[in-house]
Symmetry: C2
Subunit: 230 residues, 2 copies
């Protein structure tokens, strides 16, 4: 029975990792759609989010079944509860990728992001995709060095988010309100995506060490960037 049980736990981790792949790819595609006003790609990201939602429901159902049938205690119990929380984070990451794609669709055939900010968003998209992949590796390998790297990647994402915010708040910014609203929301979505990836890594860190690692020992994905109201 213990073998079956640990096989089931491994499967949960495997499913979580596969969800990181889904949301990382979705965010990469959403960024591409955003920066290239690619309507078809945007539509495919939006439609594809249902796959992430299905994966979450399936994973959660399995986790509840494990709780019901195996009645795990101690660390094993915490692993299952952590899996439930991680699947929520991943579901949100899928939503955030979809929101980016929805912005691209909303402004099509125009570009939601003005040329001047395109390189910043391109970088945000790259980092977002990378943190999702790394979070998947952290889940699969429990490699805490990689988890620490993720914190660094997320700092970069936060810095870019701050840069967007400061850009639209500067007196030199002359774009219309629509563009300001679009880039403010898009930047926020990338930043939240990074926060969720970090929370995945921190949960693994907690399971391995009993500690959430650097930063605040929060149970939630909230990591307020300094000087910014989000």
């Amino acid at each position: 029975m213990r073998d079956v049980f640990h096989h089931e736990l491994d499967q949960l981790a495997h499913r979580l990792q596969s969800m990181t792949g889904l949301v990382g790819t979705a965010m990469g595609s959403a960024t591409h759609a955003l920066l290239n006003a690619d309507l078809r790609l945007a539509e495919s990201v939006i439609a594809g989010d249902a796959q992430v939602d299905d994966a979450q429901r399936d994973l959660d159902e399995r986790a509840v079944q494990i709780l019901a049938r195996q009645s795990p205690v101690a660390t094993d119990l915490r692993v299952v509860v952590a899996a439930l929380r991680m699947s929520s984070s991943l579901e949100r990451m899928g939503d955030l990728a979809r929101h980016i794609a929805a912005l691209a669709r909303l402004r099509y055939p125009h570009h939601a992001v003005p040329d001047g900010l395109a390189p910043v968003f391109e970088q945000m998209g790259e980092i977002a995709e990378r943190v999702a992949l790394k979070a998947g590796q952290v889940i699969a390998t429990r490699d805490l060095d990689l988890a620490a790297q993720l914190e660094h990647d997320d700092d970069e994402l936060d810095a870019l988010h701050r840069q967007v915010f400061l850009t639209v708040c500067s007196p030199e910014w002359t774009q219309p309100g629509e563009t300001t609203a679009d880039v403010t929301l898009a930047s926020r979505y990338f930043e939240r995506f990074g926060d969720h990836a970090i929370s995945l890594a921190r949960r693994v860190n907690f399971l391995v060490t009993g500690d959430y690692g650097p930063g605040e020992a929060t149970a939630g994905p909230e990591l307020a960037p300094s000087g910014l109201p989000g």
Copy 2:
């Protein structure tokens, strides 16, 4: 043992309800701070969020203890898992109130919201406070009529969010980028707050009826407003 167990479940519900009170009051105060550029009130909301975080950690720990000691199955198990999810939503609601307060603090002594939009945000704050309170009542009473009312309240919140978005996107909007970014983010925070309140009510609905109620049967708090990329 079953009596002890059900007493523990009642306590979880009681704690969840008390968290709805905390976040509802926080959102009311945050709105007041935002609209009146009240720095001290903003600071108190920001500092007070730690109480919500503590309440979540405490509740989650109790829920995990219940799983470990009682090994609940069937509906009882789902109640405990739902409590874990609800505490996450409530923790986020506290964060969102804090973000509103942080906006007020960031712009002090100026007002983050221009006069023209103040009535809209006042309404959003009232509705947000109301939905938090109602969600608490739904948790305490399992009153599904009240849960249905909550959906209606949230529709109002979504409509106001759309109104803000359309206002800043209109050609008549002449405010600087800073103001546009502020009101876009603030409006998004209120909208997300409402989404989380709805997700609380839907979880109760699910426990009572096996169905998430009106709207999509999502396991997450994601309820995309039509025509808006968030």
